[in-house]
């Protein structure tokens, strides 16, 4: 499953640690939510980058005390149609100010890329290699959006106010 970060296909440096696996030292790891909550004190003192896998049916507010220690949070899309993790991503970025990596996992297909990026994700485990190959192309589909997003683009309403470029009634359809 190809991983995309910074717009490119990259090698995943993280080791996924199961519920009962020994914790490796000095390598980036991703641990399941349950295990993290049970062993948080030890995990945050460990030497090495720490990531967690957070399910889409738990409130991200639970993570607030630990956010400063987390380098990565993986949020899950069990199905393409299940969009709970979009809300989790925006809450983490916008309400809790999480500045680490937000990784989208699960049923991640090309037609979600622009939603994901604009919701605040910056790491993508893409299900199909063909989709991963066209990541940049797909993100270029839209040059305008109507709402503020994590990609920092000005929403249409702000563009209109800031520029005279948006023609008005004279170009009526």
């Amino acid at each position: 499953m190809p991983l995309i970060e910074n717009g490119r296909i990259v090698e995943d440096r993280h080791v996924r640690v199961g519920p009962d696996d020994p914790i490796p030292e000095r390598v980036p790891i991703i641990v399941p939510a349950q295990r993290f909550l049970a062993e948080a004190d030890a995990l945050i003192r460990r030497d090495g980058s720490l990531g967690i896998d957070w399910p889409n049916d738990r409130r991200v507010a639970e993570l607030e005390p630990w956010l400063g220690h987390l380098a990565l949070i993986a949020l899950n899309f069990p199905k393409f149609k299940d969009g709970r993790a979009y809300s989790q991503a925006r809450l983490l970025r916008e309400s809790y100010g999480f500045g680490g990596t937000l990784r989208a996992t699960g049923d991640v297909l090309r037609d979600q890329f622009h939603f994901l990026v604009r919701a605040g994700f910056d790491s993508f485990e893409v299900k199909k290699p063909a989709d991963a190959a066209v990541f940049a192309e797909v993100l270029a589909r839209y040059s305008v959006y109507y709402q503020p997003g994590a990609d920092g683009r000005l929403p249409a309403a702000r563009q209109r106010l800031q520029s005279d470029a948006a023609p008005k009634i004279s170009e009526a359809v």
Binding site: K81, L109, D111, H114, P148, P167, E171, A172, V173
Partner: protein, 552 residues
């Protein structure tokens, strides 16, 4: 009319390009039907019994003559020469080919139209009063607020994969003509004691298998907070709405399960964290949207010009049509003309390409190029000078569109039913057609007065049967079509759900039962001034039930 600028035009064009790519990937097999389905739905494409169906958004029910002509073109070029106007102020084409849909959408994009979010688990097309901007009783034009919400929720990065569809309605008039309380989220503009205008927020309405009327969760919301509040409601729903059972996934179930108070608390807590962020509306942003609504350059006219009153006196048929289909306009000397799409034996809401083109011409000549679509599946010319009414009437009559049955028993709201829809259990259209034949006598219809019949071909309630004065719901029993009849529903300022009158009746008996109900009303009413719905309220349904089941 809202006028698209280059941003809006670029956006719809890019959306068509994206969908063209998605269709190509589906046709090549690169996408499975499961993967393609949510993508096509987000563009208004359904797979029905016999063919694909394409649903086009008419935001808040306003169309330009140019747009109506383009819909006629789509009907002719890509479909079978007609389209079907829906209870959500949209239009759908029932016989369209998947491989041609991108071209049809490209043709529509040229006139600022699209199928975005007319289906799928996202925020659907915004609806409002079909008399927006012209009704004498409105505080201000609701379409400005509807447009602000519409833009914000279009291809929203967080709310495009919610548990289920989400319908938002905005009303700003003293009388509710938009059925606010049957929406997932509804805003009613009103003035508080200080005279300031703000929104009452209602949430959790919806029909379907488990009907609920929306409950008020905030009596007054400042206009500046409209978008942040929408965001807080959607975020709460997106996270906590049920996804395990499609029948329990609408926000009404979440509101019901949590209780409106607990739901409101959740929303308010979220809203507090975002209300002063980038979604707070400033007057410049609102003014910018408002500036792109253009209004007719009305003449200074007097009400009831002599040519109009003389024509009424001279021609009883014209007079009858005026009584029935013409309403007051906020500008003196103008009127709102409602156009019935409910001819005897017809399909409620259908219009042919020929009719659409002719109506576009009439709109250009007599209504500043504007047409409206109402949730009752009728159209309207919103700005007709009263002196022109005789000419408009003659022209409509020639098109078969001057039927004075607005609000009467034959003005039936019906879903497409089993004739088209893969979800339906029973036919709706032939039931409507038979009822219109039984009541073909207009004098008899007028004698019965205001009486709304709503027909749905399945529990999904697209025909809004729960809020019909007479509601008819198709069900299937041992492979046969049966119909449950409810009485007393309404979707106005005092919205109520209808009550079931008794056991379901077979297909062949439905029109008989409606006739019995009509006869019962005539026998029970205290005078001609007591409307059907008022008699029912006074007597309850028992006397109606007794008569109907005594007869069968």
């Amino acid at each position: 009319m809202y006028i698209y600028d280059s941003i809006d035009r670029t956006f719809v064009t890019e959306r068509v390009a994206e969908f063209r790519d998605q269709v190509a990937r589906r046709l090549s097999g690169e996408l499975t039907e499961d993967e393609f389905k949510p993508l096509r739905l987000m563009n208004g494409v359904y797979l029905q019994l016999h063919a694909y169906m394409l649903r086009i958004a008419n935001p808040y029910g306003t169309l330009s003559s140019q747009q109506l002509r383009r819909l006629a073109h789509v009907a002719r070029r890509y479909d079978r020469g007609y389209g079907h106007f829906t209870t959500r102020q949209n239009i759908q084409f029932h016989w369209i080919k998947l491989e041609e849909i991108p071209d049809a959408l490209a043709d529509l994009a040229e006139v600022g139209m699209h199928g975005m979010q007319t289906s799928g688990n996202n925020v659907r097309n915004l609806t409002t009063d079909q008399w927006a901007g012209v009704a004498p009783d409105e505080i201000e034009d609701p379409r400005i607020w509807a447009e602000i919400i519409r833009q914000h929720v279009t291809l929203h990065p967080e709310f495009s994969f919610m548990p289920r569809k989400f319908k938002i309605c905005v009303g700003t008039a003293a009388h509710d003509r938009a059925a606010l309380r049957i929406h997932d989220l509804a805003f009613r503009l009103h003035r508080n004691e200080a005279g300031e205008a703000g929104f009452e927020v209602m949430v959790g309405g919806g029909l379907g298998r488990t009907p609920f009327l929306a409950q008020t969760i905030r009596p007054f919301l400042k206009k500046r907070d409209l978008l942040s509040y929408v965001e807080a409601v959607l975020r709460t729903y997106n996270q906590f709405g049920r996804r395990d059972n499609i029948w329990k996934a609408r926000i009404k179930i979440l509101v019901h399960d949590l209780g409106a108070e607990a739901f409101a608390k959740e929303v308010e807590a979220e809203w507090q964290t975002i209300k002063d962020g980038p979604l707070a509306l400033d007057s410049a942003a609102v003014a910018e949207i408002a500036s792109r609504f253009v209004y007719p350059d009305y003449e200074a006219l007097e009400d009831s010009p002599p040519a109009f009153t003389a024509a009424r006196r001279a021609d009883p048929q014209f007079d009858r049509w005026v009584d029935n289909a013409v309403n007051n306009h906020k500008k003196p000397g103008y009127a709102i003309v409602t156009i019935s799409l409910k001819p005897e034996g017809g399909t409620p809401g259908d219009a042919t390409a020929v009719q659409m083109d002719a109506l576009a011409d009439l709109a250009d000549r007599y209504s500043f190029g504007e047409i409206r679509i109402g949730h009752e599946q009728n159209l309207a010319l919103p700005h007709v000078a009263q002196r022109d009414l005789p000419a408009v009437w003659r022209a409509l009559d020639a098109l078969g569109l001057a039927i004075p049955n607005i609000g009467l028993v034959s003005d039936i709201i019906a879903c497409p039913g089993l004739d088209y829809c893969s979800l339906a259990n029973a036919r709706s259209i032939p039931i409507a057609q038979e009822i219109t034949r039984r009541f073909r006598d207009l004098d008899r219809q007028r004698e019965l007065g205001r009486l709304h019949i709503n027909i749905s071909g399945c529990i999904n309630a697209c025909g809004h049967h729960h809020v019909g004065h007479i509601g008819i719901l198709g069900v299937e029993k041992n492979g046969e079509e049966f119909y449950q009849i409810t009485l007393g529903g309404k979707a106005d300022d005092h919205a109520e759900l209808g009550a079931l009158i008794g056991p379901a009746v077979p297909y062949a008996k439905v029109a008989d039962v409606v006739e019995d109900i009509a006869a019962a009303y005539l026998a029970l009413r205290t005078s001609r001034d007591e409307l059907f719905i008022d008699t029912l309220k006074r007597t309850g349904i028992e006397p109606f039930r007794d008569r109907i089941y005594a007869a069968h």
